[in-house]
């Protein structure tokens, strides 16, 4: 080892260097910055999945099965639109949910158990609200990016009209953030990797995808399975999206319920996540 004299020469000291008010106000962004940098390490995979997923889906289900469905339901399609158009709002919402929750499930578990970055943030003066807030900001960005990639492909395939994209994105982002906040809370309560996330994938995401009126109107589901749709953010978002894009009839009060349901998922999830973050950091 070479002897060096590189003793920090221009030591100013934290008293002059650091403004606690600044941390209090912008702590969310600092936490988000880390999450985004971490995401940046995987950006090629994120883009590949973001574009590959809709391509595969649209070719196989949208066009393949869609041709079959269109053939059997006749020229008026489902609810007056082609099967692809019917499917598109649900696919977009699913993509946004998946993208958003990818940033709040494993990353939270990782931060408490594996890399412990959440503890590192905390020792630097960021609070549980800053950290949960930062994770949600990163999740939001991922959600929007995933949605835009998916939306672009949907437009290219003629599944949606470009003019409807903003409204569809709104419905999908509401679902994505609601679900992501809920997952952040569950991940905060998870102490061991005993397959919890696999269970969520198989017994929450998969049934939600199947029974939320994704592939056929929810009214066609047997009544004893319809409750899955009612509590599923995907159904709320899909119904919103179908109304906002091709004018699928939804009562105004139900539109309000859809938005309120998704927003409350977000707030309740966020509340429990922050609470659990606080107690875990103080253990």
């Amino acid at each position: 080892m070479q002897p060096t004299s590189s003793r920090p020469s221009s030591w100013i000291g934290s008293n002059q260097l650091i403004d606690p008010d600044r941390i209090r106000r912008f702590g969310y962004w600092y936490a988000a910055e880390y999450r985004l940098r971490n995401m940046g390490k995987w950006w090629t995979a994120i883009v590949a999945f973001g574009l590959g997923n809709p391509l595969l889906y649209l070719v196989s289900i949208g066009l393949g099965i869609g041709a079959l469905v269109n053939q059997s339901v006749g020229p008026n399609g489902i609810e007056g639109v082609s099967y692809l158009e019917f499917l598109a709002p649900a696919l977009l919402a699913t993509a946004c949910i998946q993208g958003a929750m990818d940033e709040t499930s494993f990353p939270v578990f990782e931060g408490f158990v594996w890399t412990k970055y959440i503890y590192a943030m905390n020792t630097a003066g960021l609070t549980e609200s800053h950290i949960t807030g930062g994770i949600m900001i990163a999740s939001f960005i991922r959600c929007v990016a995933t949605g835009l990639m998916y939306g672009g492909i949907l437009i290219a395939f003629g599944a949606i009209d470009a003019a409807h994209l903003p409204a569809l994105m709104l419905a999908s982002i509401f679902a994505g953030m609601g679900f992501a906040a809920t997952m952040m809370a569950f991940a905060a309560y998870t102490k061991e990797d005993d397959g919890f996330f696999a269970v969520v994938g198989r017994f929450v995401i998969a049934p939600m995808f199947m029974f939320s009126g994704t592939f056929y109107p929810i009214e066609n589901t047997p009544i004893y399975l319809q409750w899955i749709g009612w509590i599923s953010p995907l159904w709320h978002s899909t119904n919103l999206g179908r109304n906002l894009s091709y004018g699928h009839p939804v009562e105004p009060w139900l539109m309000a319920v859809h938005f309120a349901f998704l927003a409350s998922l977000y707030f309740v999830g966020f509340y429990f996540a922050a609470r659990k973050f606080k107690s875990r950091l103080a253990e």
Partner: protein, 304 residues
């Protein structure tokens, strides 16, 4: 800088820290020495304002950590026992992103990050993935990270545990330089040589309590003799010989593998043992250390 009065932390029935009192003044290198489970890390986390005390008073930089935690933490540098670096990020990124948590500007960090990389001698690894660093390098990086906000107090929890001797010496050298610069250091360790090397003053902890307090030299003078004779007669014979030589020094400790005789003049004691007709298999005369202080205070060795 730090004032603790009757500081206590309990978890249910278990008392991790049991009403301890101490103060740390500016520019001091203060040590918490004790075996695993003595309550050092719990004390550190309370000082680090990430763990609330159960009772007693604690003041850090003039503030109460229970109510001003984030403000206090902004002025501390923390080197945790377990590295919580991001292994996917590059070496410089770990420093940069940690600096951002303090709201430090990108411009400032650009300069600071390179300065710190130089200080901990990781220039060649600047752009390497953190995953690829050795244990000693990771620890140095964690120390650099703890300095990014130019803290009032740098807290190091077992800084050299798990490192090889060479890596330990490199690390000690860096910490010594910080001490010279006047950075206040708070160090926990269960290595007496580390405590002797780095600490101006220390408390010896066991089972959540403070057993003794003072500078390493004071503690050795107060609780031990100047020299120690270590003799081995073979594990079967140690206990048999001990009573026959225990009057030679100030005090005798019989350990499973050896006998320690505390005295002012070790060579003279060793000579006397020979005169009495005992032939140790191995013998060693050395100066007293904090290990001996700990043994005297608790009847146990530091590293079991």
């Amino acid at each position: 800088m730090i004032v603790a009065k009757s500081l206590t932390k309990t978890y249910g029935d278990f008392t991790a820290v049991d009403g301890i009192n101490f103060t740390v003044t500016r520019g001091e290198a203060f040590g918490l020495l004790g075996p695993n489970g003595a309550g050092k890390s719990t004390t550190m986390r309370m000082i680090g304002a990430t763990l609330e005390r159960t009772s007693g008073d604690l003041e850090i930089l003039g503030k109460d950590p229970n109510s001003k935690g984030p403000e206090i933490r902004a002025h501390l540098g923390v080197v945790p026992q377990q590295d919580n670096l991001d292994r996917e990020l590059k070496v410089w990124e770990n420093l940069y992103i940690y600096g951002r948590y303090f709201g430090l500007s990108r411009k400032f960090l650009k300069r600071k990050v390179d300065e710190l990389i130089g200080f901990v001698q990781l220039e060649e690894k600047r752009d390497a993935k953190t995953e690829s660093l050795s244990g000693g390098m990771k620890r140095r990086l964690t120390i650099a990270r703890g300095l990014v906000n130019e803290p009032e107090i740098l807290m190091l929890d077992e800084p050299t545990t798990g490192l090889d001797p060479q890596a330990r010496h490199v690390l000690w050298d860096r910490l010594f330089r910080l001490k010279e610069q006047g950075v206040t250091l708070v160090i926990t360790t269960h290595y007496m040589d580390e405590a002797e090397q780095l600490c101006d003053r220390l408390i010896v902890m066991d089972k959540g309590k403070i057993m003794a307090e003072g500078s390493p030299a004071d503690l050795i003078r107060d609780y031990s003799s100047r020299e120690v004779v270590e003799v081995r007669f073979g594990s079967a014979k140690n206990a048999e010989v001990a009573p026959k030589i225990e009057d030679l020094g100030d005090r005798v400790e019989v350990l499973p593998d050896r006998i320690l005789i505390y005295a002012e003049n070790g060579e003279e004691i060793l000579h006397q043992i020979g005169v009495r007709g005992f032939e140790p298999v191995t013998s060693l005369v050395r100066r007293s250390s904090l290990e001996d202080v700990f043994l005297r205070l608790t009847g146990r060795t530091l590293v079991d």
